[in-house]
Symmetry: C2
Subunit: 128 residues, 2 copies
């Protein structure tokens, strides 16, 4: 497995996701303080994919630089506050999720091997 | 800002992304060792969204449990190998990206204020 490439791709995905979370935060703030600006940013973000966070910032810089700068500041702030917690949360999350999937699957398989109770047949032969 | 919620949502996104990377890894392995199985998994994954990693695993468990177990094992392994590097990579990545965006934007603004050199006009009046 190419861990180095996976780590790099995961970092890019994470940065785009934090850019998206920063956009949501700025939208929430603007809804309170400057509704027309919130409306404009919402419309812009519906037209411009944020799948690639850096391409999105690039477009926004050309359209309304002050909003782009604001989102850049917020995503950096978000990163500083949360990234240190992620390793433990992701590790634990995957372990728990895997365990839960195995448990549910085992339960499902076990139920499949138990024969159906013959209630309906018995009732039919009683009434017939 | 609700850092706790953002950390939780980011963890979920990361787990789904690592599930996707685990799928890619298993697909690569199967292409070498068991092409029909690789073909089946590729087809299944085109039909079933992996946007939500846990819903994907759930579906795959019902269809071909041995493949689901394999992807679960690989995603746990990937997490163990890479998550500890992510905080530093994401922090540095965002800092560098923000700096680069600001630099490029400054360059762009500065260039806009410099008048175009009148070369073409001069050439035209020379040749005209």
């Amino acid at each position: 497995m190419d861990f180095k490439r996976v780590a790099k791709d995961t970092t890019k995905t994470l940065i785009s996701y934090l850019t998206y979370q920063a956009l949501l935060t700025v939208l929430d703030q603007l809804k309170e303080t400057d509704p027309p600006q919130a409306y404009w940013l919402n419309y812009f973000s519906a037209q411009t994919s944020i799948q690639d966070g850096d391409a999105y910032i690039e477009e926004l810089l050309r359209a309304r630089q002050e909003l782009a700068f604001r989102i850049m500041t917020v995503r950096q702030h978000l990163a500083e506050e949360i990234v240190d917690f992620l390793p433990e949360m992701v590790r634990t999350g995957i372990q728990q999720s895997n365990m839960e999937h195995r448990r549910q699957h085992l339960e499902r398989i076990t139920q499949l091997t138990i024969p159906e109770p013959p209630t309906l047949d018995e009732q039919q032969s009683d009434s017939g």
